[in-house]
Subunit: 209 residues, 2 copies
Amino acid sequence: MKLYDYERAPNPRRVRIFAAEKGIELEKVNIDLGTKQQMGDDYKAINSRISVPALELDDGTVICESVAICRYLDEIQPEPALFGTGAVGKANVEMWHRRMEIEGLQPVADSVRNTVEFFAGRALAGPHDFEQIPALAERGMKRVDIFYDTLNERLNESPFIAGDDYTIADIAALCAIDFARVLKKRIGEDQTALQRWHDTVSARPSAKA
Amino acid sequence: MKLYDYERAPNPRRVRIFAAEKGIELEKVNIDLGTKQQMGDDYKAINSRISVPALELDDGTVICESVAICRYLDEIQPEPALFGTGAVGKANVEMWHRRMEIEGLQPVADSVRNTVEFFAGRALAGPHDFEQIPALAERGMKRVDIFYDTLNERLNESPFIAGDDYTIADIAALCAIDFARVLKKRIGEDQTALQRWHDTVSARPSAKA
């Protein structure tokens, strides 16, 4: 299996952490987004959506979308159960994971892609070009602030985001928060529960994957 | 089980169709978004995110987020397998479903919520108020046009969106396309594969759920 990867991007990192938690070794192929390598014909032939990550199986099948790749890895290596266990447990993890994506990863991406000069004319990933929208970046920053507050509240009552166990929801939140450094956003001094959680999940070896 | 529902909204419809395909009967409780009933204290006590759908189990557990509810329903009633079968099959459905959400449901929602007068000051669902962003509505419409084109291409080569079988990806796409009527968007006369698929999935009894 080959993972088409780019170290600094948050979405491939989600997959790398997920695989590391599962103990799955992936051959990594760097696609240098910094030089727009994803737009070249070689990568387009692998993933016409020109995004990373993408997972290529030994038979040539390509799976795109971070969470689809995680699902595949979960199927071939069910333990530990990062998508939850039991009907209610799986639904609960899906709910929290979705919230981390909608309330965390998305607003961080909205802000980064609509402000950083490198993304001018490329405000959305994928094969279509869109201009930056400053008002969307501004909305994103407000939502990021709200995200940190709600996360701190949640982590005041729960060791991990979806409950007692580390799950894919923690991975999404960690990638969102670490990516928000680009926006100079930091965990507030009064957000002690969020800081405690961030220290804990960052100390896991998978965080360096 | 009670489903907190609103007939005209696309997200509760995703769950209603999913449940109907599974043959699961849900008691429906209408939350009238037209009169902002979701903002009342009664509903806030059920779902502090003030969004529909939400599923309340008999023991009082509440599951929010459409896809989390679908996961729960899938766990209690695995057939038919609307999330795919086998490791590659499940990953493939997840990939296509994500694409339908990111490339279809999201831009339709961006356009509707940032143009329709009813959503002024409420451009995002949830407990926080945001002003409409006209440029985001405009970007949404361009993306909706692209969505119809790419969907038509895909359905030229595949009976359903994820392949040979009807899955949750078809449900997401159907809800996106039907919701786009608000924007006066229609399937183009030359988009014959998309029209054929739309006729097929709309003729299933679940489409009326």
